[in-house]
């Protein structure tokens, strides 16, 4: 009877998730933020966001030896926008993140950005998928208002399914209510 086992589990893996289930255990490359030479080193897990104090490198530090594109990429090391509970408005402190990405996208028309919307674990799972999408939409609207084009942006919402912090308190929740901006 073991052939039946082979029939239903692996067939499914092939049908659905082949790319995501490689035996190396690595995630699909499309989901991993690409590391740009010269920027702060990417943490090993994309969920450890680059928001550690002092780790962000904004445009002002670009020396004249870099061209404009590299300078704007250096500003992209902060790749997360955080939100208040059940809210999708972008707080003023993230305007600089939006500006940097909008600049980068308008200066590089072939560049593409994936906006991954997330929610904290409170509330129901499918509603939170809706909420994550609403947050990603808010970031998309802010980027296009500042010069990015819709064709450069794609949106996916994971709701509460991929927490950055698996804790069950406000400290964890505040890290999970987020949109990750991921260059493709």
């Amino acid at each position: 009877m073991s052939h039946l086992y082979i029939r239903f589990v692996p067939v499914l893996a092939a049908a659905l998730f082949l790319g995501a289930c490689a035996s190396t255990g690595e995630h699909e490359s499309t989901d991993t933020p690409t590391q740009v030479p010269g920027t702060t080193e990417q943490p090993s897990t994309p969920y450890s966001d680059n928001v550690v104090e002092g780790s962000t490198v904004l445009g002002g530090e670009a020396s004249s030896s870099f061209d404009a594109a590299v300078a704007s990429e250096r500003g992209l090391s902060t790749n997360v926008v955080y939100f208040a509970y059940d809210d999708s408005s972008i707080a003023p402190e993230y305007q600089s993140v939006i500006e940097q990405y909008a600049k980068y996208l308008s200066a590089n028309p072939s560049a593409k950005l994936r906006l991954e919307g997330h929610a904290d674990e409170r509330g129901t799972r499918e509603y939170n998928v809706g909420l994550g999408e609403r947050r990603a939409n808010a970031v998309q609207a802010a980027l296009t208002a500042q010069g990015a084009s819709d064709a450069q942006l794609s949106i996916i919402s994971y709701g509460e399914e991929r927490p950055a912090d698996v804790g069950h308190d406000e400290a964890a929740w505040s890290k999970n209510r987020r949109v990750q901006l991921i260059r493709q």
């Binding site: 009877m1 073991s2 039946l4 086992y5 029939r7 239903f8 589990v9 067939v11 499914l12 893996a13 049908a15 659905l16 998730f17 790319g19 995501a20 289930c21 255990g25 995630h27 699909e28 499309t30 989901d31 991993t32 897990t45 994309p46 969920y47 059940d86 994936r114 674990e121 409170r122 509330g123 129901t124 799972r125 499918e126 509603y127 998928v129 809706g130 909420l131 999408e133 609403r134 939409n137 794609s154 949106i155 996916i156 919402s157 994971y158 709701g159 399914e161 991929r162 698996v166 069950h168």
Partner: protein, 427 residues
């Protein structure tokens, strides 16, 4: 008692899945529980499973029975002729079950059981069940539990049912998601699908031959349908944006879903035969989590059109929705009881998320769970019990609670388990 071929195969998988066993704890009890004794069956040696013990556990966990401990039994008859009724009466056991697993003259195995009323000295049930496959004895035991439950309580038992749920473990992109299926008593857990991308929202077809669920593939979500008999998965729909919340219509011909490709999340109904799609809601708020009324005429869904998410009811042919929840700061993810008179939902009050039962006629709400982050309520067939997901000390786990709130059991395994969906009865 016809069981899909795959289930027999799944029994072979039990060893693979053993480490994922659901561990069950029961707390509370029904003050009006019926006293009953299940005497160990006389069984031929090749019948390895202790049938009486499975029946004992089923009835005890329902909360509706007080089952006599084996060590307190003063006699152990295996057929009605051997029963000393005054002995059982003296122990307060109004009901008694005796039985056997034996070989017939033609060589076939059969199980035979009797439900006896010790007060009147009368036989309430007596059945003989042929056993074609000895690896399916557990299902025979659940069948016996169902017969006893229905005879004594007047409503169908739900022990020969399945629970689908999502298990996950690991952190970040190493997180692994599994769509699982287990017997209603947590036995025989087995994996239906696995992914490093989220799996969500399992939903049984009314004939329980198929499971719909949400998966993500290369950065996009889609609704898939898994067919138990063949193990095949087909992609039902994968529009840009959200493809979520699948819910089969009671006749199994249509599915209510959430799609956001036309702007933002709205409710749609898909005809599963023709593929034709109809938009049911059109609002800039989030409309999601549709579920059907038992007669198929209405849907409930969650919407934040009024500010906070609340539950609304709408005709399955569309029109104006009617808000049905007003208690607490928000209410979400409602589903109808089998009689259509109440809703199980997630109620939020004071920052706590608990399972509520809303009486649709009176508007009265009763909270039947006491966690902080309870979610995903689903009625068991018959409506006497609700299963839901809760945050336990060791991670997310499943729990069931009787609709009167008195009897609760938890089902946990390593890692997080959530989004339980109780299968319909086998028809």
């Amino acid at each position: 008692m016809r069981i899909p071929k795959m289930l027999a195969a799944a029994l072979m998988l039990a060893t693979f899945a053993a480490r994922a066993e659901l561990e069950i704890t029961v707390t509370g009890g029904d003050v009006a529980a019926l006293p009953i004794a299940i005497v160990p069956f006389g069984q031929v040696p090749e019948a390895g499973l202790d049938i009486a013990q499975v029946v004992h556990n089923d009835l005890e966990r329902s909360g509706r029975f007080r089952v006599l401990k084996r060590q307190d039994m003063l006699q152990r008859p295996v057929q009605p002729q051997g029963v000393n009724y005054p002995t059982w009466r003296s122990q307060g056991m109004d009901n008694l079950v005796v039985g056997q697993v034996a070989r017939a003259e033609n060589g076939g195995l059969y199980a035979r059981f009797f439900l006896l009323d010790t007060v009147r000295g009368a036989q309430l049930l007596g059945q003989e069940i042929p056993i074609r496959d000895i690896s399916r004895l557990r299902e025979v035991a659940h069948y016996i539990s169902d017969q006893i439950y229905e005879k004594l309580l007047g409503v169908p038992g739900y022990f020969n049912t399945k629970i689908a749920y999502i298990a996950s473990s690991g952190l970040g992109y190493q997180r692994r998601f599994q769509l699982m299926m287990a017997d209603a008593d947590g036995e025989n857990p087995r994996e239906i699908a696995a992914s490093r991308e989220p799996l969500m929202s399992p939903a049984w077809s009314p004939d329980r031959k198929q499971l719909a669920f949400v998966g993500y593939e290369r950065g996009r979500s889609a609704i898939y349908i898994y067919t138990l008999a063949t193990g095949q998965v087909r992609k039902l729909i994968a529009e840009p944006g959200i493809n979520g919340s699948p819910a089969w219509s009671p006749d199994g011909k249509r599915m209510a879903i959430t799609l956001s490709f036309e702007n933002n999340p709205d409710i749609y109904i898909v005809d599963l035969v023709s593929g034709a799609r109809r938009r049911i809601t059109d609002h800039y708020g989030i409309d999601t989590e549709p579920n059907w009324s038992p007669d198929g005429s209405k849907l409930v869904f969650t919407s934040d059109r009024g500010g906070r998410p609340q539950v609304y009811e709408i005709s399955a042919s569309g029109g104006d929705p009617r808000r049905v929840t007003f208690l607490g700061t928000q209410n979400q993810d409602a589903s109808y009881s089998p009689d259509g008179k109440s809703l199980a939902l997630v109620n939020t009050e004071g920052g706590r998320f608990r399972i509520g039962l809303l009486d649709l006629a009176s508007g009265e709400m009763r909270l039947i769970s006491d966690g902080r982050l309870d979610e995903s309520p689903s009625f068991a067939p018959g409506g006497a019990v609700v299963i839901f997901a809760t945050q336990g000390a060791r991670g997310a786990e499943l729990a069931t609670v009787s609709v009167d709130g008195r009897v609760r059991q938890s089902l946990r395994q390593a890692g997080d388990v959530r989004e339980p969906s109780w299968s319909p009865l086998l028809r």
